[in-house]
Symmetry: C2
Subunit: 416 residues, 2 copies
């Protein structure tokens, strides 16, 4: 049996080291790691070649093979990513609040690392360096479990990064990779509550569901997005076209892409044909209710109940006509994944009703849902988009990888 | 099968109502609830009598019976608790951050309710009113699951509170009680992820473990406390005696009581006899290592490995001699439950080392661990003490029962 307990113990020992590292030291390590990656093209690429070869043998589609492939420029991008993290402010040690009680106790609420973070991810091996950079800058130890398809690449990248940690005199166990890709080992990893403080799945809906159902470690759910664009009665037509087109088609495979259009019945006749014309440029398939089908004709496939709950990640859009903003809000709150939704309207009262009523991490007025992203928000980094309400919601940057403790200063106070 | 899905659906409908209530309305409801409780002595006490009767039949110990018993003055205290919550500021709607991006998008990070909160608790029926008051003031809907032993009392209290909600024209499903005390129903409740946003167990270590292991809903772990007092080489003797005596004996059954004493070897000879003399007043049993046994004699029972990990909740204290603050920190991080620990020292350099190194929600210098409490911290309320690192750590007041969302204002921005 793969020794997960041993890894857990080493991670716990390492988290105490990592949590006390000074910012300068952490930055030195990240720079050394970046250099290490750039000095290891051949080692990493030859490991990656073995993954690609196996993918070909297994008949993995070209697109998936491409996501898996590492080149010198992609390794440079990983190194660049680490250097970007060097530039970000270190949140650890920040005094978030400070106050004194009538009995003279002085309390400081101080930002600290989460401790040991587990990350389970799929396919793209660049996540390895990326996740290490973010968790290390925030003083955490990380245990990574990547996909079987990228195992050789991940092993090579982790070897380079651990070598850099050792060269800097830092406990290399702040970064560990589970090299056994057996499913049973992954399930055991989700139960490693004694050692791991939080588990973050990064990948498709299936992976996330499996983690939520099997983990006894607290989980941060990320990244499923059935995002809605609601075009209100008071919407501007040009903005509507621009925003819907961008949200649906600019990049279809991502969680902040739009999957569903709601449109107010009073503007449906006028707007829908214009919207369709724009979407036709990308051959977007439309699945709509009866009203939209009446207006647009047979090109609209009748939408099923299931359609409204789907995250297509494809050139497909569901359509529903509504009679009010209230109906739009109720529909969204029934079918959404609490990720990102947008109202297009020139009426600020209606907009505020929508912003208040919709239960999602990010709610937009007159802007594309594609902006839900740690970089677009100015966080300088992103470990994922949280779609749950505990701990962090929406884009998670460095601060969202931290916890806090209370430091309390007394001079002999006891409780009466 | 008890209809938990129906309860879940009603709670979700109610959470949208509750989240939009104005502060004044919420306060009006809480006042009406307080009046309702005071007007229902006989109804509540006669229900409570049935619980007490059954407890007697089942041979429940006197102490437990007392915790279960409701009197007019205890009902008054419940009503008082609700009125205290009226006075607290409403955190909902608070703009936590506001910023603008170079593309003109304006972002507001706004505090919102968590949504539907599940609370599983044991014995004392006053938790029912208490938990309702805190979750309602923060705009949440709550589903309560109390213990079998208090079921009649809980049903009566919930009936009174729901009546008050209806009288105020508020959806009474913001407060629901699971009336079926079957264990299988409780286990199904823990899987109600589709409707419940967070689950908070309040009770003993066994209850908390069962919830953590079985829940697919995100859990906030509360309330297990194996708290340590470390008396440093540079400690003041008087403060040491006062703090240890208070932390160990002022109230033994609570999570912030001390369970273990660490003492620096250089002061053990001088301090231990004085500490023992104080603890003798309460007949505290001592379970110590060899050094403490050599100093104090045969009254010290040899401590086992298991003793150092125990939360006694009794007049028992484990003792360990250490050679340095580093050894104290390592011992604590190995055996603690991440709740509260204290260093007694006059050396601020040593104190800071301890504050930084110990992995607990609350770390004290020269004060009793008994202060870890929402009221003592000035939060004005407390739903529990979180011992995990996700979302909230330490005493949880109103703010800790909230989440946030981003409201994003644009004028047609799309992603390039």
């Amino acid at each position: 049996m793969y020794d997960l307990n041993g890894m857990g113990e080493r991670a716990v020992a390492a988290k105490f080291d990592a949590g006390l590292l000074k910012t300068e030291k952490k930055n030195e390590v990240l720079k050394t790691c970046a250099e290490g990656l750039k000095a290891s093209y051949s080692e990493i690429i030859s490991a990656n070649d073995r993954d690609i070869e196996k993918a070909k043998e297994n008949g993995v589609p070209e697109g998936m093979q491409d996501r898996l492939r590492l080149t010198e420029s992609r390794i440079d991008a990983m190194a660049e990513g680490l250097l970007e993290i060097v530039k970000l402010p270190d949140p650890i040690g920040e005094v978030m609040e400070e106050f004194e009680r009538p009995n003279g106790l002085r309390l400081k609420k101080v930002r600290v690392p989460l401790g040991v973070i587990g990350i389970i991810f799929e396919s793209r091996p660049n996540v390895t360096a990326d996740a290490f950079g973010l968790t290390f800058k925030t003083g955490n130890a990380v245990i990574l479990k990547g996909g079987k398809e990228a195992i050789n690449s991940n092993i090579a990248i982790v070897r380079v990064l651990r070598k850099a940690l050792e060269d800097c005199g830092v406990n290399p166990d702040v970064l560990q990779l589970i090299e056994d890709t057996d499913r049973e080992t992954t399930t055991r990893f989700m139960k490693l509550k004694e050692y791991v403080d939080v588990l973050i799945p990064r990948g498709g809906a299936g992976l996330i569901k499996a983690v939520v159902e099997n983990s006894s470690i607290p989980v941060i759910e990320t990244g499923t997005g059935n995002c809605h664009i609601y075009i209100d009665r008071d919407a501007d037509l040009d903005k509507s076209v621009k925003i819907l087109f961008n949200a649906k088609t600019q990049r279809i495979s991502v969680c902040n892409a739009a999957e569903s259009l709601l449109i107010h019945k009073d503007v449906a006749e006028e707007f829908l044909p214009v919207l369709k014309k724009a979407l036709d440029e990308k051959n977007v398939e439309l699945r709509g209710d009866e009203t939209s089908k009446r207006i647009l004709g047979d090109c609209v496939i009748p939408a099923t109940e299931e359609d409204y709950g789907r995250e297509y990640l494809d050139y497909i859009l569901s359509i529903k006509t509504v009679s009010s903003v209230e109906e739009a809000i109720a529909h969204i709150n029934r079918y959404n994944t609490h990720h990102s939704e947008c109202i297009v309207t020139e009426n600020m009262e209606t907009a505020e009703k929508f912003l208040d009523g919709v239960d999602s991490a990010c709610v937009y007025v007159n802007a594309s849902t594609r902006f839900t992203d740690g970089f677009e928000f100015g966080f300088g980094a992103e470990i994922g988009i949280s779609t749950q309400k505990l701990h962090a919601r929406g884009p998670m940057g460095l601060k969202e990888l931290t916890s806090y403790k209370y430091k309390i200063y007394g001079n002999g106070q006891v409780r009466g």
